[in-house]
Symmetry: C2
Subunit: 658 residues, 2 copies
């Protein structure tokens, strides 16, 4: 029987029978039990009750209320610490009589509770857990998600539901990107003009930050804050222009891309400011690590500032890269004074820095391995940039240490894991979940499960199930889709629009910002925002076509399914045209809608050739391929995801099969 676990555990052994759930189901918690674990068990019981509709006898589970039962026994040896390399392992044994979860730490037990929930299945007799034995622990100790709250502010409730999502797939680091050219998002008591003038009023209070940290900790998740510097700091300079390398005044930036403003590394007052600043922030954020960004400084303001040039000459600093290294070393010393280890992007790497810093690689494995060879730990984000709207399998197969990695065992241990990065140029509170989920669950599996777990088809099968489990936690990646279509059509009949958008995806990589000028105020409610990465219907269609062509076009059920899709698409444009008449925002995708019909018509024609056992004449094939090529052009920053599959149909079926 196939299990639907994601991430796949290190070891699973299925046995005979099932534990049947009933209204009398009880849980007992034993060992050295923390409040964190009691809360986790209570949440698990409530989630189980909500998922099954069963009324359980227990309410809030506490030391006082825990009962002796042989239904579900949770046994924990000690409270865990929220630090790198803490024991996160757990074991589950399910027999028809009893479920046992054991773990060294409460953090491991929390992971086990998530597995327990994913194990629940149903048949006509009711809900059950299949009998089995699981022994599980993570492959990498740093499994993160970055959320950029700088470019667009992301409210606390959105952060919290994403923490729930992370916990569900056993991620353990929330990397909170808190400051950007476009916004300074933290209440700072030492320098209040940072948030007062740098945020438009959209910032997290310290009480909210503590609340998020507690919420994350209760789920076994560390919070690593990022204060990006010396670049990406325009919003700091609105209140404190004296930190900058060029004279002010500054205003919050509203556009995207690399900005010129940068801190002045030549002035002692800047380091004094950062010392006072980090003193406060290192107290606010309890994690041992502090991320200082360090990326994308173009150095223009440094080169243009004569005092900085003088400073460089006086201190034998040959170039801007070296100047930034100097800045980093100063910052690292401040952080060390306050008990923190520094994390930064590839750019910060310099052999003068102590070996407890962490290199965060957007550049790629090569860059990561180079630092590892020199003894520096690192984490990978290259290949996990979920803002770039790439397919899930691309991210899934991106292994931080593939089998052929040119690293010694000692160096491999320095590769701590990775982080999915949700940069927020093109997301709002309404759309961010649909960019993070469900794809990030596949990244979570890459970082948790053994390296040999890489069956893409099985990953996609489980991903669709996990996606709905994530939705139950409050994530909006599924439910906001139809809501956005309703807004776009300006009424409830979204059928035709949905048929189109089901096979559209936003343009990839950095194309969106290149095709249209966006600011922080631009609407994120158009078709491109409703369209989702890795469009499921398009993927199903592509798989169906591949499978049909493997049978040379003769898979009968498959042919019918393909033709059903095509017929719906062929007829869709006429209906959508009616919708567009009342919804002008849809005009930008009118021609792509027409192209869907054209594409489908071509594909249906190629079936005719197959069915008549004819070869299409080469003119028809050429003109069809030409039309398909045109249909690939993005419109409204979206693209049709079924063209390559139809090209294959034309090539193969137009030849009367081959």
């Amino acid at each position: 029987m196939g299990l639907n676990l994601m991430p796949v555990p290190a070891k699973v052994m299925q046995t005979e029978g099932q534990f049947r759930l009933s209204d009398s189901f009880k849980v007992a918690v034993k060992g050295d039990v923390s409040d964190k674990l009691y809360h986790g068990v209570t949440r698990t019981l409530r989630r189980l009750s909500r998922n099954t509709g069963l009324f359980f006898p227990q309410g809030t589970i506490t030391a006082e209320s825990t009962v002796d039962t042989t239904d579900f026994i949770v046994q924990c040896n000690r409270p865990g610490e929220l630090v790198l390399h803490e024991d996160e392992s757990y074991q589950i044994t399910v027999s028809p009589q009893v479920i046992t979860l054991t773990a060294e730490t409460d953090i491991g037990a929390l992971h086990g509770l998530q597995t327990f929930l994913q194990l629940v299945d149903a048949d006509s007799n009711g809900y059950f857990i299949p009998a089995l034995k699981i022994e599980d622990q993570p492959r990498f100790p740093w499994r993160g998600l970055l959320i950029d709250a700088g470019r667009h502010f992301i409210p606390v409730d959105v952060i919290k539901r994403n923490l729930d999502g992370m916990a569900a797939v056993k991620m353990n680091v929330f990397h909170w990107h808190l400051t950007e050219d476009q916004g300074f998002r933290v209440e700072c008591k030492t320098f209040p003009k940072l948030h007062e003038l740098g945020s438009d009023g959209f910032y997290y209070t310290q009480e909210q930050i503590k609340d998020v940290i507690n919420y994350a900790a209760a789920r076994g998740i560390r919070v690593v804050p990022e204060f990006d510097m010396p670049g990406h700091t325009t919003s700091w300079f609105v209140g404190y222009p004296e930190l900058a390398s060029a004279p002010g005044p500054y205003q919050i930036s509203r556009k995207w891309g690399i900005h010129d403003p940068v801190m002045d590394p030549a002035r002692e007052e800047v380091y004094q400011f950062l010392d006072d600043f980090f003193k406060e922030m290192c107290g606010l954020f309890p994690d041992k690590y502090m991320h200082i960004g360090g990326d994308e400084n173009n150095g223009k303001h440094w080169s243009a500032n004569p005092e900085i040039q003088t400073f460089m000459k006086a201190n034998d600093i040959p170039d801007n890269h070296a100047l930034q290294s100097y800045f980093n070393r100063r910052v690292q010393k401040i952080l060390a004074k306050y008990g923190k280890k520094m994390v930064g992007w590839d750019e910060i790497f310099h052999s003068d820095l102590p070996k407890d810093i962490v290199i965060h690689s957007w550049r790629g494995r090569q860059s990561l391995y180079e630092s590892a060879v020199q003894g520096y730990p690192g984490i990978l984000s290259n290949g996990y940039y979920i803002d770039l709207i790439q397919s899930t399998d691309f991210h899934y197969l991106n292994d931080p240490i593939p089998e052929n990695a040119p690293l010694k065992e000692r160096e491999k241990k320095l590769i701590l894991g990775g982080e999915a990065t949700m940069w927020s140029e093109f997301v709002s509170a309404e759309t961010i979940d649909s960019r993070i989920w469900p794809r990030t669950a596949a990244i979570a599996e890459r970082l948790w499960s053994p390296g040999h777990v890489k069956n893409v088809e099985d990953m996609y099968r489980r991903l669709e199930i996990v996606s709905l489990q994530l939705e139950r936690l409050g994530l909006t990646h599924e439910k906001n889709y139809l809501m956005m279509l309703r807004r776009l059509t300006n009424n409830t009949d979204i059928t035709a629009l949905k048929t189109l958008v089901d096979v559209l995806e936003p343009v990839k990589i950095y194309t969106r910002g290149e095709q249209r000028y966006y600011t922080q105020f631009s609407p994120l409610t158009r078709v491109v925002d409703a369209a989702r990465p890795d469009a499921k219907v398009a993927r199903h269609f592509r798989n169906l076509v591949d499978s049909l062509l493997t049978n040379n076009g003769n898979g009968n059920g498959q042919a019918q399914s393909v033709k059903n899709y095509l017929t719906r698409w062929k007829e869709n444009h006429e209906r959508l045209r009616m919708t567009i008449k009342k919804a002008p925002v849809l005009k930008e995708i009118e021609s792509i809608s027409e192209d869907l019909s054209v594409t489908a018509s071509i594909a249906l024609e190629s079936f005719k050739y197959l069915e008549n056992q004819q070869k299409a004449d080469s003119t028809w094939i050429a003109s069809s391929l030409e039309k398909l090529k045109n249909a690939k052009a993005p419109r409204g920053q979206t693209e049709l995801m079924i063209i390559p599959a139809v090209e294959k149909l034309v090539r193969v079926l137009g030849e009367g099969g081959n």
Copy 2:
């Protein structure tokens, strides 16, 4: 041309032409402009941009950034105060060249901005506002929504999105029911054991409360807190049993209904506690009014306490009602000391109390009018209990002062308005929006629009449009529906379940709690929770049947539409049976699903009699009506909403038309 405004303005005059919206659309704000109004205009511009996909040139509107434009001019005379009877009027003039919104206060201007957004329409050329002139002001000054955060905790983000919904339909009082037997939900610094021991950790911090008050104020909404006493106070006594009339210890209550625990009105220490308590809370909540509840005290613990009995004799207090009046007078004096006017339910009424208190009537108009005759102001909630799952038109036609109200003009002025009440025994953060919206928009119209506006059909037409506008604000009444069905079916194929639940409603009034024992921990994720009040599909069907029968069954298009519904329902059970096999939580509605098929079959048979111009034999009619009667029985606390319409079909069509 029909406008879709809700609430309907006091005066509308449509003129010729339209103001066309474009990417260059700008707004200017003039007069004595508050930050509140700048923020409101900025929000309006962003909402307009999101709704239309248009990119506007303006970002955040401030005194510095406002421009001179003749697109949209907002003119305000003075900042309003968030007090009863503040001027809330506004005027809008739209010509093809310019839109003008004028208002005496920023609060009136905020209402006008909501109207402006509701006016936006579209045709194949783009978005526009029809030319017109509106003069508008509210009929009643107190238009409230009560949310009970005591029985189930309602998180801040849920409160905020409901404040957005309220503002969209021009409601102006958020009545925050903060304490209950089941939970004390406010951080109290004077007596911290109130929230520490009385809330399971689910309470609002004072920073969160201030945030909500500011959020409401920015939308022209007053926040009236309620601390229900002397009954409904079990959660207070967990930390402070010395306040109670019976010895402790107490625990947070988990069940619903009227509880025995009650404050001891005979002990001076209780009043000292309340004095200190209200001193803090009157500082925290700026509104002039403070609600003390005062309902549902059964007096058992008073009657059983000898010291209270002695106190009553010593003070000539004849009975428990008089004792509660004594308690209320003492509390009222404390509130007066801290500058607050008291609000309470009907029970608090006593002619010893000063005439600035407000009587909040759950009992009904009669009770309200009696106090008005004696000079006491009042607000109506009887008829607006949205937790009881009654139909929208029932609430809509419930006028606080119908034409025949037996009141003098002076007394009518004392009827301040009303409040919809969202008691939370059976709602969670996930379902609460679907109980509040869209029905509350009709109540908002009742309290804002002139009394003669009461066309039910037109109300329903506009309600469906407004419902989607409310969804755009983040409310989840639409989008959580399919999510809940997905959870129930345990997969994505929800078609058959949706067909059934579309015509189900939860049982009404207090039936749900009578049919099954619920606690605070019971799951609210079953079919009854997914089902929504005033089921739209069922209502459409009933209207269709009525309209068909008006034509004696000969409305041809109507007959076909009715038969299409019936055919789908007849065939639905076979499909849903397959779903139920994999989703045991649905077993409880299996027989009601079967009854939907049976009902539809009967209705289709009656069409046959009509079409054959036959009379059905009386045995068939009798046995059909018997089956229909049985199909009315609730299952899973839900009921089929199409039976009466089918009964009509059987009676009329079974007679071969009549």
